[in-house]
Subunit: 287 residues, 4 copies
């Protein structure tokens, strides 16, 4: 196990707040900043102590749309530059989705920047709450049970591998559509039915639930038109998304574009995943 | 399969509306009454044609609190007696939770009354949407994933048997508390951990989710006081319930008393279960 | 937990040997008799000390075909009467499948006889190694994987409930044939396909594996003739069995009549189940 | 689907025999050679017709230890060179584990050689019968049920991903030991417990079953010495294997080195996987 460390947890949403609590539960010294809106959180007023930190953790994503610290639980606006200024060369800064500006500033100042979101392990873990979020949405939106429903998962990467077996375990008749023979073989090994993507619109018609996990334009007007009445489509593809939303609107197909599910459906678990990933980063640096 | 029949579907909520549609999908002649509020439903104005029905289906429950036809999708108030008056002796009347008044009226008129809700098969099937409803609520309410959460199911009858394996399949560390050794053996065979009910408050403290399925006063002030901070308690016990709600309120334990989940979370599937059960009643009468 | 007790474990096969070891592991004083053939077992030479026992455990079944103590691991032949003679009135005697002769002798002498095999909990637990034994046999005998095989489980009592979900979990396309609507509903809730028994021979033709769990003559010449070439039939029904073996031989259908699987495939686990059941008997007597 | 083709299936074990039958079942023209020992198989006497084949399939592995055609079901000894001589340039030759000699000969003659065993999809599919083979061996060898047994899977590549969830589904308490955080995250997402490989010998002591899937020297004298009495070790690592066999023998640890499980436990399914892979090769060449 890690010895007791000094952490600064700065900005972010309930995931960061959970992260701060979990670090403290593990016995570490934890300082928070720009998290005043989190329940029961006492935050530092200045960044002065940051220079003593063993590790500074920025949120996921680190920056908001305007390039400032992403801090929805704080009323203050804070430049990422201010945080880096408060740090010493050689200190560890962990951030989620670090942009080029943050990277170059960190490099200039000799700060050890690590993007925890770029690590495969976090992406794999985040597939768990994402899969649960899809299940929750499907349960909320459909008038039928998932049990005995016909479900199609498009794509069989990390998300498909987390989602497909869970749907099957709940009794859904679950198909996977994937381009590569390898992924289809993997899906079959997990007890799912698998098909290629080529003639998708020919066999789409029987599904009650279609979940797209592929970051590409997969469900266009032809596919949407082929779907069963009452189908629910959940799109997990990041911008620009994998579903033609205007075609769906015109055809009356219900589509839910569900982004960033981990932070929304399970902030505490998401905070724990970030904690574990940060620990692994620290172990590797020490190791 | 059944030959084409003449059904009257009278009153009820979206389950009855789904039942009417599913019967029509199977090719039967279907008349509806007191379901005007259901989308796209054309209802009969009078009960005149009821005397030609092969089967009349009343909702679940058949009567509302005031003893009238349970018809939340209709503006009219209808006496159950009117429906029976419109029927001939020997006709089949299927109803959910038929009360003593309905039973004696039917008997007096020589109408063949069958309570579909009293059949074990429907209770077993209804455990499926109930389990899904519990999962949905837990996902909505908890800030952690069900995966890796610690869940306790109290009781291992039909509901526990449907819920326990689903929680485990989603990755929850699932315990069952049941009085009888048989039920505990059954739970163990399904890969769950099982304990008795005697010293419940001694080991309750570690659970993130506690679901009561036992129709008895199980979770009193001592048990509630022993629970972990942030726990979610879902009570499935019908009135008067299995949780001491005032003690929970005083202790700040979050309790959701979730009744009638099948009709709420999956009306279409619930309608299908009623349809299958009505078919079985008819087969047995013919057989 | 139980205080330390004095047990006598008498006769039996490797299950009894495992039982003796497990009782000793739990800290009890354990004497064995007529188990000399078990590896590393030191047995008593006489039954003299039996009168000091808190509990005497006879094997499953207690008697062999000739009515003597069932003691395949011993060269000695021992009358059940000798054991009872060595006991005092009021002592506890646990036996598996106690016959009428043993019962009447025990009653005459005022010995507290309990048949552990008659307890539902043991039957439920024994379904686990039985299901594993079926899986092992099917894997050994079939040239195809269980994954993607088509499997039919006839009957959905304790054995069917243990076997069906395991086959499905291994990826077999699993059907259940059961008479009652309740059992079919239960099977469906576990993600299995379910049908009635009436027209079994009409849809038997597609299965690679058929497992009979019903103690009745279910698979006669018509059903066997309808089966697919290369099918494997495993019959779990106790004597006289559920499969017409001579018809099967004539038709060239491979049938394995697999009795007493728990003791054969998992003697240690079976011994543990007996131990747990004996503990529960003692708790209830003390309770 | 593919149009009807002309296949030559040459040499090999029951997998090749199954392949030939399955191709014929699909409606193709199928000629066999050097498979006389397979039940009911009529083989060609000469290779004359090979030049008309759309696809020639050699076994897995194509060559035996002496570099000749691997043909355990034939009494004849056949050079791989003879087969290539009988082919025309441009013809398709599919072979499993094609060696350098076969490759260079094929290239010299302008024959289109494809190694089906080198395709990821076949490796993924073969993990299924391998996992079933491990389960079968464990059931045969252990005196306890897999249910409630403590099982450790070392490595979490294709084999671990197929085996781990199956063990868990059967009720085994299943741990995974894997070096990378990604694989551990994947294992956790599948409901398994995961640890690193570093301190393996410290926590090995509690397992009833240890399965090694890593092709490296993982279980040496220290690890073996730390294991529980009665443990069963199954090694799936290809030569030179992952277990120190002489240390195991000295310590009395039971080790089963289980190679080539797919062909042994499920030849028909293995033949089907080869068929599917050969089809995909042909589709890609045509596509």
């Amino acid at each position: 196990m890690l010895r007791t460390k000094n952490f600064w947890v700065i900005g972010g949403d309930p995931r960061q707040a959970a992260l701060a609590e979990l670090l403290a539960d593990d016995g570490h010294g934890v300082h928070t900043f720009a998290l005043e809106g989190a329940e029961g959180m006492e935050c530092e007023k200045t960044l002065e102590g940051v220079r003593l930190a063993d590790c500074v953790v920025l949120p996921l994503p680190a920056a908001d749309g305007a390039g400032k610290l992403n801090a929805p639980l704080s009323d203050e606006v804070c430049d990422l530059g201010e945080i880096l200024e408060a740090m010493r060369p050689g200190q560890l800064l962990c951030a989620g989705m670090a942009g080029p500006e943050l990277k170059s500033q960190a490099q200039r100042r000799g700060i050890l920047l690590r993007d925890y979101f770029a690590r495969e392990e976090l992406a794999v873990l985040n597939a768990i709450p994402t899969a649960e979020g899809v299940i929750q949405i499907a349960m909320e939106e459909l008038g039928i049970t998932l049990h005995d429903a016909r479900a199609l998962v498009v794509g069989f990467g990390r998300l498909g591998k987390a989602l497909g077996p869970r749907l099957r375990a709940l009794g859904a008749r679950t198909w996977v559509a994937a381009r590569s023979y390898d992924q289809r073989a993997m899906a079959e090994g997990m007890g799912l039915e698998a098909e290629g993507l080529e003639r998708l619109q020919e066999w789409l018609c029987s599904f009650d639930l279609v979940v797209n996990t592929v970051p590409a334009s997969i469900l266009g007007v032809e596919e949407l038109a082929a779907m069963k009445e009452g189908v629910l489509v959940i799109d997990l593809a990041s911008r620009p998304g994998g579903v033609d939303l205007s075609a769906a609107a015109a055809l009356g197909v219900r589509v839910i574009w569900a982004l960033s599910l981990p932070g929304r459906v399970a902030p505490v678990t998401s905070g724990r995943y970030i904690k574990d990933t940060v620990y692994h980063i620290m172990e590797e640096l020490e190791g």
